[in-house]
């Protein structure tokens, strides 16, 4: 069987086609989900793609959490549905309180697009099992509001519980506290990541193939489940 992974399109989603392509290249079946439909089409996992959902008005991700499809995703995520939020998707997961903390404007005030080195800090989550601990990968980063912030207690807990899934290496691109690039919930099914693994799945278009592991991790977990 092949894993069916839904990709949600909100008004203003931009990397939805890319996420779908990455799922296909990784061997999964990408299923389009529409923000306005309270229907998950029996998918086994969900990707919330990058972009500017609802124009990022109010706050990034703040309006998206009220979309009909999100109420279902939030409910199922609490029951263990694997969910990967990339960039704007990460912001939506924080706004939805599926993940702690928040993402704020880059400390240098500019949008930044660059090839970013990360170190994998967790290989237990649904989305990082195909990596090795401490593995260094390079994938694109592109955000205007990518600075991860949380209170000291939360940050301590995230590290103590091994819930930081990746950290920035060779320079923090956006002022994220403690160089955090991505985190997971305590169950390991919900992952938020600021850089873009879906843009590093083809030699022709990406800086590496290092992003594939996020998708193959979930697919092999689902197929073998």
């Amino acid at each position: 069987m092949s894993a069916r992974i839904g990709v949600v399109t909100f008004p203003g989603s931009l990397d939805d086609r890319d996420a779908a392509r990455a799922i296909s290249i990784a061997g999964g079946e990408a299923v389009s989900l529409w923000h306005g439909d309270a229907d998950l089409k029996n998918v086994d996992a969900v990707v919330l793609p990058g972009g500017f959902s609802y124009g990022d008005y109010l706050r990034c991700g703040a309006i998206a959490k009220f979309a009909p499809v999100m109420s279902l995703i939030i409910e199922k995520a609490h029951q263990g549905l694997p969910v990967l939020g990339i960039c704007n998707g990460f912001q939506i997961l924080c706004e939805s309180h599926l993940l702690p903390g928040a993402l704020t404007r880059n400390d240098h005030q500019h949008f930044i697009c660059r090839d970013q080195k990360l170190r994998i800090e967790n290989t237990d989550s649904y989305w990082t099992r195909d990596y090795s601990m401490g593995q260094e990968i390079v994938i694109p980063l592109k955000n205007g509001e990518g600075g991860y912030v949380a209170d000291e207690k939360t940050l301590d807990e995230l590290f103590a519980e091994g819930r930081v899934i990746a950290t920035y290496q060779d320079g923090n691109p956006n002022g994220s506290y403690r160089d955090i690039a991505g985190i997971t919930n305590s169950r390991g099914n919900v992952v938020g990541l600021m850089p873009h693994p879906e843009h590093a799945v083809e030699a022709l278009t990406g800086p590496s193939l290092d992003g594939l592991g996020f998708f193959t991790s979930a697919i092999s977990s689902l197929v073998n489940a």
Binding site: P11, G12, L14, D15, R17, D18, R21, G36, G50, G51, F52, Y54, G55, D56, Y57, H110, F111, I112, C113, R114, P140, K142, G144, H196, E198, H199, E202, L204, T205, G206
Partner: protein
């Protein structure tokens, strides 16, 4: 009170502010002659804006005709000049549309919004052809990098280009960033967009089918972007009515993104008979052009237009340049389906009129007729001027002042040559552009094959077959100042070459002609010469002009910008897998580095002269037959896998080309100066029709024999070598060695290259 048509008939002697709206007395008289009465204030507003230089091309038209008259024979052009954008056949059933436009003046007044709406406008031109936008590029020009006004304008322009393009989800794959005192007070913000479609999806801007409906959809109409019309507004409203309107439009990229998706969905569903974007001149332009291109008549109920500001006058609504709006012609049986799709994307849509065969564009406002005109006279039969022009008296003196060794001392020692290279690579025009380009998303959509600092942007169109397109834009305006005719050809040659080094076959041309005032005969001469040069060049290279844009009045008082004919060339590549990148890679150790083409003592208008504050002499010689040959060789070498890399040689010469390659690869190489050439000339001359290529040793014979057989000079000048560090006294580092002359580490070079723009714009 509303100035209706009957009002205009009954009160023929009302004084009208035509001069304040930019119309000349004879133009005003012509309007009266066309209508057989004085125009209403709404009609006056429409004519004034549609007959403006920006919309009517009245000063440039007689020169632009050459692009059609001298067009090379080609089967590639599916839609030519005159539509929103030209459409080119790239094979496999795919078509591509691309165009570049200027947003210079708004960007100077309000850098962020001016640049943002420049991107928005060109993207709507592309979607109105039926294409999905795929990428944008931005040729930008500013005054000296460290001038206070550049520091005011540039960060806002870059943030605006990025803010809009990033939110739209279009990769920014290249462009230009040029600094020159000539642009202080007149920055140039040009924006290019490229899109693709299947042949059967091409749509045109025409209102066909009597009884069909005119639908306005997208953002609400507001008071932004109204220039001269505020003159009318102040006359038709009393003192407490809307006063000063901002004349720069405000963009909303989120609305544009929804507009793109909704438009593509209604087009693909076959629900649209004709379509037009609303840009300059807003509803006036869209309705008159659609009607003029179609059945010839249209009836519009202007009071139906959804407004952001209920106090807008009809004149203002007709002229408003509010962004993110489109106009579609839809049959009555398709209207419900059309509206349903708009609703799905939360895009407001309303029927504002219908197509008629009356030959008149009639606009009503709350039951009163305020416009009744033949639409062709508004849209297509505006005034045409044969502006006087003559060669400036100073042109001869300028050309006589060549940067010879007597005028600027030339470096000859190894140390002095090395310092010259470092001075150039750190100069604002040649320094790393990443301060700018890292603010642009180049990855979104997942089809970016090449993006800056590569010579060309390359986008994959078809994921199955690998079919793709490459686009470059170029212009050395100093060359155009020295010789506008050849300067335009040189801009074309460089852009053509930049596409060719990637392995793509050049196919078509777009242009953005940025000049001073057409009322100045010397500027007009520059324009006439540049258009003639570009048309001749396109004919010689066999690449047709598909469309473009003219921007005049880029001048402050009597001082015009350098003539800046920006030329964009589009090429096609049958499989992006075989693209040639600009530099060598980790498998290249031992591969050979060749210079293709001849190098001569040519420094007029060069970067080397520029950093010495010198502009004079003649630009490098143009040889388009040689450019064509070079292009064919580069494409053949890419096809047959004979080369690893290829890089254009232009600004700063061979020294800058190889330094850029070394920094990009982060792998060292050893070079030597070509025989019988003075080192300074070899390193820094800007002779054209040259490229640096990297050849695996196994391919050397085959490649050089091909060059010899075709008559293209090829000189071996170096070898890739990652192990030079230790011998050169830089253990463990990647090093460039230039014969006996000089040595530097790539890190050293990079520090100088990357420090310049952050040093200026982060402080």
């Amino acid at each position: 009170m509303i100035d209706s048509v009957s009002n205009a008939e009954q009160q023929p002697d009302t004084q009208q502010p035509f001069a304040e709206l930019g119309l000349k007395p004879d133009e005003y008289d012509r309007i009266k002659e066309i209508l057989g009465r004085r125009p209403t204030s709404s009609e006056l507003a429409m004519y004034s804006v549609m007959w403006s230089e920006h919309c009517s091309y009245k000063s440039s038209k007689v020169h632009l005709r050459q692009f059609g008259e001298k067009a090379p024979k080609t089967d590639a052009l599916l839609v030519g000049i005159g539509e929103n954008a030209g459409v080119v056949d790239i094979g496999q059933g795919w078509a591509v549309t691309f165009k570049v436009e200027s947003h210079n003046h708004p960007s100077y007044v309000e850098p962020y919004q001016g640049a943002a709406t420049g991107v928005g406008g060109i993207v709507r031109d592309i979607i109105s052809m039926g294409a999905r936008p795929l990428a944008v590029m931005d040729p930008l020009r500013f005054g000296a990098a460290d001038a206070p006004d550049t520091r005011r304008v540039l960060p806002g322009v870059v943030a605006g280009v990025g803010g809009y393009g990033n939110c739209l989800g279009l990769p920014n794959i290249g462009g230009e960033l040029v600094f020159d005192d000539s642009y202080l007070g007149n920055p140039l913000v040009n924006a290019l967009c490229v899109g693709s479609m299947r042949h059967e999806d091409i749509h045109l801007a025409s209102a066909k089918g009597i009884g069909n409906l005119v639908v306005l959809y997208g953002a609400r109409t507001g008071g932004d972007g109204i220039g001269g019309v505020s003159v009318l507004a102040s006359e038709t409203f009393d003192a407490d009515g809307p006063a000063k309107r901002p004349s720069v439009q405000v963009g909303d990229p989120f609305m544009e993104k929804l507009l793109i998706e909704a438009t593509l969905e209604v087009l693909h569903a076959g629900l649209v008979e004709g379509i037009q974007d609303l840009g300059g001149a807003g509803i006036s332009c869209a309705t008159s052009e659609l009607a003029s291109n179609g059945e010839g008549g249209m009836r519009v109920w202007l009071d139906r237009v959804p407004l952001r500001d209920a106090s807008l006058s009809p004149e203002e609504i007709l002229m408003s340049e509010s962004q993110e709006r489109m106009c579609a012609i839809v049959t009555p049986e398709h209207i419900d389906a059309f509206m349903e799709i708009c609703k799905k994307w939360d895009v407001e849509a309303i029927v504002i009129g219908e197509v008629t065969n009356t030959g008149r564009l009639v606009v009503d406002w709350h039951g009163e007729q305020i416009v009744n005109v033949p639409p062709r006279t508004v849209a297509h039969e505006g005034p045409v001027y044969e502006r006087p022009y003559h060669r400036p008296e100073w042109q001869d003196a300028l050309q006589a002042n060549a940067p010879t060794a007597q005028v600027i001392a030339r470096p000859d020692s190894g140390d002095a040559l090395k310092q010259t290279l470092l001075d150039l690579i750190g100069s604002p025009n040649l320094a790393s552009k990443s301060w700018v380009t890292s603010q642009y998303d180049r990855y979104v959509l997942g089809n970016t094959i090449l993006a800056q600092p590569e010579d060309t942007g390359m986008i994959r169109i078809d994921e199955e077959s690998g079919l793709g397109v490459a686009i470059a834009t170029d212009c050395n305006a100093r060359f155009a100042k020295l010789d506008p005719y050849n300067g335009a050809k040189l801009a074309l040659a460089e852009s053509y070459r930049n596409v060719s080094v990637s392995g793509a076959i050049p196919l078509a041309v777009t242009n953005c002609l940025n000049f001073g005032s057409p009322e100045d005969p010397e500027v007009m001469w520059q324009f006439a010469e540049a258009t003639r040069g570009l048309a001749d060049g396109c004919l010689e290279l066999g690449v047709p002009v598909t469309g473009g844009n003219v921007s005049f009045y880029n001048q402050t008082a009597d001082t015009a910008i350098h003539p800046t004919p920006v030329v964009g060339v589009l090429g096609v590549i049958d499989d992006v897998e075989r693209r040639t990148p600009m530099t060598w890679n980790t498998d290249s150790d031992g591969e050979l580095i060749y210079v293709l083409g001849d190098t001569s003592d040519e420094f007029g208008g060069s970067e080397w002269a520029h950093i010495h504050g010198h502009l004079g002499g003649l630009p490098p010689r143009v040889d388009l037959q040689r450019e064509k040959l070079l292009s064919e060789i580069l494409v053949a070498a890419s096809r047959d896998g004979m080369i690893t890399a290829a890089h254009d040689v232009s600004d700063g010469g061979i020294a800058i080309a190889i330094a850029e390659m070394a920094m990009r690869a982060n792998i060292g190489a050893r070079f030597w100066v070509q025989d019988d050439i003075e080192p300074f000339v070899f390193l820094f001359a800007e002779s054209t029709a040259r490229a640096v290529v990297v050849i695996p040793r196994s391919e050397e014979l085959r490649f050089t024999e091909m060059c010899a057989a075709r008559g293209l000079p090829a000189y071996r000048v170096g070898v890739v070598d990652s192990g030079l560090g230790a011998d050169a006294g830089h253990h463990g580092e990647q090093v460039i060695v230039m014969g006996e002359l000089f040595t530097f580490t790539i890190d050293q070079l990079r520090q100088v290259h990357e420090a310049t723009l952050p040093g200026i714009f982060n402080s």
